[in-house]
């Protein structure tokens, strides 16, 4: 692993954690009172890393971000949700990215949908009940909007940051 890649990965991990912290200050759940609703700002880092670096590097950044976040908050439930949602979303995005017909927009929205499905899956396992499945359509619709927002951010950053 090159030192430059390692440095980029460390910076991206730190950035993702800061974005996750900033996100907690935006009271989106007051506007849309559903469990698990969030902007997914940290997802811009995952997407940037998928396009800029590669899948293994992104996996490392994601795992480090979720574990450190869980360590700081001390919330094991939240850790289970962020890790499962994050990994499923990342795998979906990595697969979607291979399609020549999709740009960051489609990749981001599909990643958000993957994240929502992962969250509901974990919730169903934790609750021993399928009732939370009723939240899925709402989460998918909000996730689509948030996915477009993060796509706009990622596209903007990737445009400015041309590889040297």
């Amino acid at each position: 692993m090159k030192t430059k890649d390692l440095t980029i990965m460390a910076i991206l991990t730190a950035l993702a954690m800061v974005l996750g912290w900033v996100e907690r200050m935006i009271p989106l759940e007051l506007l849309i009172p559903l469990p698990g609703v969030k902007l997914g700002l940290a997802n811009t880092v995952t997407m940037f890393s998928l396009y800029w670096l590669n899948l293994p590097a992104t996996m490392l950044i994601l795992t480090a971000r979720c574990l450190l976040g869980g360590l700081f908050s001390g919330n094991v439930t939240a850790l289970a949700f962020s890790l499962t949602g994050g990994v499923i979303s990342m795998l979906v995005m990595a697969a979607a990215k291979r399609s020549r017909h999709l740009s960051v927009w489609g990749v981001s929205v599909l990643g958000a949908a993957g994240h929502n499905c992962g969250q509901i899956l974990i919730a169903m396992i934790l609750m021993h009940s399928g009732a939370v499945l009723g939240y899925l359509p709402y989460l998918l619709l909000i996730g689509t909007a948030c996915g477009c927002a993060t796509a706009a951010v990622t596209a903007g950053v990737l445009r400015i940051a041309r590889p040297s």
């Binding site: 009172p33 698990g36 949700f81 609750m127 009940s129």
Partner: protein, 131 residues
């Protein structure tokens, strides 16, 4: 890598992908609304870890404190139910507000609690009373 970086502008395939997600969401929404049933809402059932821990009539005002990892106060007022107080982080359950329709539920994930309104179904209704 450069090839990937050229795919930053919206494409036709993106519209198809976004459309598919929205369609799936709407289809699920319609499915859940239809399957929720239209019976008379009459019971509030409180689940923890998937098991019923308490049943309360929706018609009577009352409250019940769910204990566990955290505490949720379930309140029933004027034919509606809500979690009005909770010690869980985030308090999404409190923000969910009041529910009264059969099939609707409030979920507190950190405490693994679900408050669900049950409607009357055909088999628990009395068909006729013979004297």
């Amino acid at each position: 890598m450069m090839k990937d970086l050229e795919r930053l502008t919206f494409r036709k395939g993106d519209a198809v992908a976004i459309g598919a997600v929205i369609l799936a969401a709407i289809a699920l929404l319609i499915f859940f609304l239809v399957s929720a049933g239209n019976g008379q809402a009459h019971t509030v059932r409180i689940y923890r870890n998937g098991e019923v821990i308490r049943e309360m009539p929706l018609g009577e005002n009352g409250e019940y404190l769910v204990t566990g990892t955290y505490e949720n106060l379930v309140e029933i007022r004027d034919g509606r139910a809500a979690i009005t107080r909770s010690s869980c982080p985030g308090e999404d359950c409190v923000h969910s507000g009041w529910i009264s329709q059969p099939g609707r539920s409030i979920v507190c994930l950190p405490n693994r609690v679900e408050v669900r309104i049950e409607g009357s179904t055909a088999d628990d209704e009395v068909d006729a009373v013979i004297r």
